[in-house]
Symmetry: C2
Subunit: 319 residues, 2 copies
């Protein structure tokens, strides 16, 4: 049982040109990378796997795919208000396709450069295509899920529903104009980790997370961790223009339940409503008593939400 042939060459040729940034004492090429942690604060770490045919189409453009793989991990750092420092990559590939690898490496290193995060190691194996990235950041003021209280307002950091509306286009299940296709790919493959918002709300927000699986489902995690329930006014949800354009009839549903937007959902005390408003955010709901079961009443236009979505929310909110 040996490693994929050419592993060393793959790493050397495609990833060894990764620039070594802050805190990297020894990068790719030894048994481990050696890293110098900041002297104060804490490290934050997260890991996400994207599997071909599940999290992205098997024929996805490797440049865009690399962007998405790294951005969704950096989004987890943003959700904790952590500044990206380092990441490792486990890449499983059916074969050593040099064109694919060149594009993937370009996308990865360009994205890494944009966010100031250094590739410090990883593993390349032969097998069904999947991408696992583990990212490490640094935080002085972490945002957690478990600090919310009854009475807190609920916020989202930006418009929702774009990635879910984009999905049929990304999967080539729907024909659109070239410009709409590009917009859909941008929404799906280039989500924007909300690092600046996280930094702005740290010290005000009582809880936060990034919306990867849909607002209602993810808000359920805050409810559960904090022992509260949530009331959402669906009419106040900021809907992404792309969701309105591609799916006008179900845009609210996509904003409430669609995943992959990577906006933040956060809570803040009612007394801080003006302070948060000055940052550009208005409440979309509030936290209420959860009792034993954390079931959240949903107000607004629930007719647009399908039963399954509400059911998912309720089940996630149960202890």
């Amino acid at each position: 049982m040996s490693k994929a042939p050419g592993e060393f060459e793959i790493i050397r040729d495609y990833f060894a040109r990764a620039p070594q940034g802050e805190g990297v004492a020894l990068g790719i090429g030894d048994d481990c990378a050696l890293l110098q942690a900041p002297v104060s604060g804490q490290l934050a770490t997260s890991m996400d796997t994207l599997v071909a045919g599940r999290h992205f189409p098997a024929g996805a453009d490797p440049f865009m795919l690399a962007s998405r793989a790294l951005r969704v991990n950096i989004s987890d750092l943003a959700a904790m208000n952590a500044r990206p420092l380092w990441f490792t990559l486990a890449l499983t590939l059916p074969d050593s396709d040099s064109v694919w690898l060149e594009k993937f490496a370009s996308g990865l290193l360009e994205t890494a450069g944009k966010f100031g995060v250094s590739l410090v190691g990883g593993d390349t194996t032969a097998g069904p295509l999947s991408i696992t990235i583990q990212v490490i950041g640094h935080t002085e003021k972490p945002l957690r899920r478990d600090g919310a209280s009854v009475g807190d307002n609920i916020y989202v950091s930006g418009p929702l529903g774009a990635a879910a509306a984009a999905l049929p286009v990304v999967l080539a299940e729907r024909n659109v104009t070239e410009s709409v296709r590009r917009e859909a790919e941008q929404a799906f493959y280039f989500p924007e980790p909300q690092l600046e918002t996280a930094n702005a709300i740290a010290g005000i927000a009582t809880s936060a997370l990034d919306i990867s699986d849909g607002l209602l489902g993810d808000l359920g995690h805050i409810c559960k961790a904090s022992g509260v329930a949530a009331e959402i006014n669906l009419e106040s949800l900021p809907i992404a223009p792309l969701a309105n354009r591609l799916a006008a009839d179900t845009a609210v549903e996509l904003a409430a339940c669609g995943g992959d937007d990577y906006q933040l959902c956060f809570t803040a005390p009612a007394a801080a409503v003006d302070q948060v408003r000055q940052l550009g955010f208005t409440p979309i709901g509030k936290l209420v008593e959860g009792g034993r079961r954390y079931i959240a009443p949903i107000t607004g236009t629930p007719g647009l939400l399908n039963r399954q979505a509400i059911g998912t929310f309720k089940s996630l909110c149960r202890p």
Copy 2:
């Protein structure tokens, strides 16, 4: 494109019972884990993927598989003389088989407990079976690959060839007695990360790595990183008893070229030969001038080594 159904439940049920050890401010369950790095020294990190059908048989016992997956990663820490602190797990599974998961989690957490390393996060996805572990340790005196010099002696930390000899048994390609089968499984699934040896040789050794792909191939990495060549006396290689028992005719070849033993290969100055001998290690060769091509003469009984193995060594030693 959504995550595997039941992801949250899988994590909660099987891995959330991971005990939170040293430096874990916030463990599994938020967007990131929060970790407190030691105030001095450096962090060491490594990542390894095991793919079913390539690095282990698809039907492998999940308890033993989890042990191997974590041990090979801890071995990378040992190779840098880093003490294990934390790890993350990316587990891709064809389905949510609760019996399999229960056994896998038991193997993982038992191994983690043995080595004092805390599971702090990860991801569970649906797809072809593979296991990626990323491990973080702490080192005050790192062992690297690039510090060796001409004239240094070459050592290995223990007998070689057991895992390679065990492979046909592990793959059920060879029938053996129950006790030999157990010994073979022990060699393959429970390699011993050489943490104590690394600690003992730190400050004496000029370079080190763990032998995952075979002594000759891995020694080639030290040669290349340090700009030297190697002369090995094959007659002085410590041969694992299991290799002699299962493959007497090719035991030297397995010891020189077989992988998966996870012993250390290290170098130390000739002047330190007595000091290293007192630790229980005798030289198996020495480093010589590499010139431009780093080709290593191999002395001893080269007739036992097939051409491919020597060719691999030579190609790895080229700059």
